[in-house]
């Protein structure tokens, strides 16, 4: 057999390869339009359907492909590449796939050009039709629209895969041997982006009816199939809502996560030991320090203070849970504290009144909805006179966490007119968020704590309330006699009941301090977490 290709065969082969390249581009681009493709079979050959396949020719795409090829054909070292990329409405773009039509030097001289090569090229196009629906970019392209569009770019020369990121995968569509070399069609696709995009777009409101504007140049004139029919309002909206959703989520997270008692404790303690922090929360915690120190200075002090604070507020504010106040009231609490947070609601005052007769149980009262807490408190108050402060501290810890959960929500969303409004709803979740019951181990816990602490700090009224509470209250704290702390609790309160006005009294400043608090909270929480075991043991002694 003549090893040299006859001129006719050579011409045919060149023509086949050229049209194969053009059809390949058409198949790829059409598969990324975002719509289902449908062409009809025809039993009568029309003569214009290359490779016996009904593949439409989009003029712009053909034009682009011809421009890229510039009269050349894929050869060794010169590959035709179709790059599919994604571009978001914000202008970010990323490469998704690179389809490569390459030619290597491995020749198959024996093969018949006009028949076998042609049929195999046809088979390869069918494979391409199948594979283009299988790569991750297909599903992305079907969902495109306002959020993002799919674009294509054709270039000729060296394959550039660097834009696909790490870990891209390759799928080989097929090969066809020819007397001039072996044609290989393959696709390198990014896998990370596919997942990222899916996640990203799932977080935004559902994208329905998104259409694709996938043409690099002006779309195809009869672009009815390519232009969106159901336009989402705007990409900006999505963009705008997106961050806000995140923000609110963060807020919710911080507000709902349970702050571990240890964390609360540490925060308070830390605040206490430092030079008087301008943060409200620190100040608020101060009064509790006495209680905290009675048990475990480092650990509980903070918690106590925190617990005491929320307890007070919760008691005052939780009009929806009167029982919560009542129960603690019996235990006795810190009447003055309770009465202090007069946010202006009569209910608050009433609450406080109820709590007034309470002594240390005030803190137990803080244990809002959990009867368990109540029992704990009562038990503790009944039997363990020796370590009432333990109970108190425990309760404080719990309360702190519980309140920590809610405050964020309340702080950010509820009006801050009522200083302790944020604590009101907290009571509902106190049980769930009880850090003593479920000592938080995950870092998630930290955020709620942070959030809550921040919210405490941020609500200036809270500060004021606490301040007022301490001022107005003249009670006999149940744990005033503390072995560990040489200071009398009452003295302690009086000493620290007039903190300097915090800059975080206003909402704006509160927001700022919240951010600062949030920043500092991780370290505080880390310290708290270290002592989780202690607190766990502590809780168990109470149960």
């Amino acid at each position: 057999m003549d090893t040299d290709l006859s001129s006719q065969d050579r011409k045919d082969l060149d023509k086949f390869i050229k049209f194969f390249a053009l059809k390949t581009v058409q198949v790829i681009v059409q598969a990324r339009l975002g719509e289902k493709i449908c062409t009809r079979s025809s039993s009568s050959p029309t003569g214009s359907d290359w490779f016996n396949l009904a593949i439409k020719d989009i003029p712009e795409v053909t034009h682009e492909a011809k421009k890229a090829l510039a009269g050349q054909l894929p050869a060794v070292g010169r590959s035709m590449c179709v790059e599919i990329s994604l571009k978001t409405s914000e202008g970010d773009s990323m490469e998704l796939e690179i389809w490569c039509l390459e030619m290597n030097e491995k020749c198959d001289k024996e093969i018949k050009v006009s028949y076998t090569v042609y049929n195999r090229l046809s088979l390869l196009l069918k494979s391409l039709l199948a594979i283009t629906r299988v790569t991750p970019a297909y599903r992305l392209s079907r969902k495109q629209g306002h959020e993002y569009v799919i674009l294509y770019r054709i270039y000729f020369g060296e394959v550039q895969l660097s834009g696909l990121g790490e870990g891209f995968q390759t799928v080989r569509v097929g090969t066809v041997g020819t007397p001039l070399g072996t044609i290989t069609l393959s696709c390198a696709y990014r896998i990370n982006l596919a997942f990222m995009s899916t996640r990203q777009f799932e977080r935004t409101p559902p994208i329905m009816g998104i259409i694709i504007d996938h043409f690099v140049d002006r779309p195809y004139p009869s672009s009815s199939p390519m232009h969106p029919c159901n336009y989402r309002t705007t990409g900006e909206d999505n963009g705008a809502t997106y961050p806000s959703v995140e923000d609110s989520q963060e807020v919710c997270t911080t507000s709902f996560s349970t702050s571990p008692p240890s964390q609360c404790v540490f925060t308070v303690t830390k605040a206490h030991f430092q030079t008087p922090p301008p943060v409200v929360m620190d100040t608020l915690k101060v009064p509790m320090m006495g209680l905290a120190f009675s048990h475990q200075p480092a650990a509980l002090g903070v918690g106590s203070a925190d617990m005491g604070y929320p307890v007070i507020f919760a008691g005052g504010l939780n009009a929806a849970h009167p029982h919560q106040l009542i129960v603690p009231g019996k235990e006795g609490g810190i009447p003055p504290v309770l009465s202090q947070p007069a946010h202006g609601t009569q209910a608050d005052h009433e609450r406080m009144a109820m709590c007034t007769p309470l002594d240390g149980a005030l803190y137990s009262a803080a244990t809002p909805s959990s009867s368990e807490d109540t029992e704990t408190v009562s038990n503790s108050s009944e039997g363990k006179s020796g370590s009432p402060h333990d109970l108190l501290e425990t309760i404080f810890v719990r309360k702190v966490g519980a309140f920590v959960n809610k405050p964020i929500n309340q702080v950010t969303m509820a009006s801050l007119d009522i200083p302790f409004a944020m604590f009101a709803p907290k009571n509902v979740e106190l049980e769930d968020n009880d850090p003593m019951v479920n000592p938080p181990d995950s870092p998630d816990v930290e955020s709620p704590l942070q959030g809550s602490l921040h919210s405490e700090g941020s609500s200036g009224s809270s500060t004021g309330n606490t301040h007022d509470d301490f001022v107005m209250v003249d009670f006999k704290p149940a744990f005033s006699k503390d072995d560990i702390l040489p200071m009398d609790l009452g003295t302690f309160y009086r000493e620290f009941q007039n903190p300097p006005q915090l800059s975080s009294l206003s909402i704006d400043i509160g927001a700022q301090s919240m951010a600062e608090d949030l920043d500092s909270l991780p370290e505080k929480l880390a310290v708290h977490e270290k002592n989780v075991r202690e607190f766990d043991a502590f809780v168990e002694t109470l149960q």
Binding site: K36, S41, S42, T46, N52, A54, L123, S127, A130, I131
Partner: protein, 218 residues
């Protein structure tokens, strides 16, 4: 000659059986179908055009391209429907397999009937899973979609090995190689059969051969 045999395995939920089978079978047939032959004088022939269309699956996150031929689609749906029914009726442990066999007819002399010589067999083993929660179903949707993507890549890989294919027949022989009964496309002669394994996994309790094209009805 040796018959090429390819086996694919999928685990699907009951309602996904049809779509998964159709996706695989249509993809195979897309590669094994040509346009209608129009023989001209002097032994030459021209080939018609094969159109394609995309099919979205309702129960699987998957889309596949199939030949645009309603007749072919109907035939496959019928076979897959029967397979699905047999699978569902077999019991809770739905394990079965459906086979797509490409064969050539070889005329034998009288009184022997024509032989059917398979040259390629695609077997899809199906394992039906039962899911209870909606979340599981959603995960199954995606997972089966990904699995089908892998299967399709496998199919394409086999197709592109360019192994044995019956050589193009003359006009008189075309019915021994191709199924010429469809009016718009011309797949290679094929038949679909299935087997259901009973729950014990022991011997096949039901074997049915469903002849899509009766080789004897010429």
């Amino acid at each position: 000659m040796n018959c090429r045999s390819e086996v694919l395995e999928v685990s699907v939920e009951g309602r996904q059986i049809e779509e998964a089978m159709l996706a695989v079978l249509h993809t195979v047939l897309l590669h094994r179908s040509t346009g209608k032959f129009h023989y001209k004088k002097e032994g030459t022939y021209s080939i018609g055009t094969v159109g394609t269309q995309d099919v979205d699956c309702d129960f699987i996150d998957f889309t596949y391209a199939r030949v645009s031929s309603e007749e072919l689609d109907r035939a496959l749906r019928k076979a897959v429907g029967e397979f699905k029914d047999a699978l569902r009726n077999s019991g809770s442990d739905g394990i079965g397999q459906i086979s797509l066999e490409f064969y050539q007819k070889k005329k034998s002399r009288w009184p022997f009937s024509d032989e059917c010589i398979p040259w390629e067999v695609w077997t899809i083993k199906v394992n039906v899973v039962n899911l209870v929660s909606e979340q599981e179903r959603q995960i199954c949707r995606e997972k089966v979609g990904e699995k089908l993507c892998e299967k399709l890549i496998n199919i394409v890989e086999v197709m592109n090995r360019h192994e044995y294919l019956p050589k193009m027949p003359t006009q008189s022989e075309v019915d021994n190689v191709f199924d010429t009964s469809l009016k718009d496309v011309q797949p290679y002669l094929y038949k679909i059969s299935y087997q259901i394994t009973d729950s014990l996994g022991s011997s096949v309790t039901t074997t049915m051969r469903r002849l899509i094209k009766d080789t004897l009805a010429l």
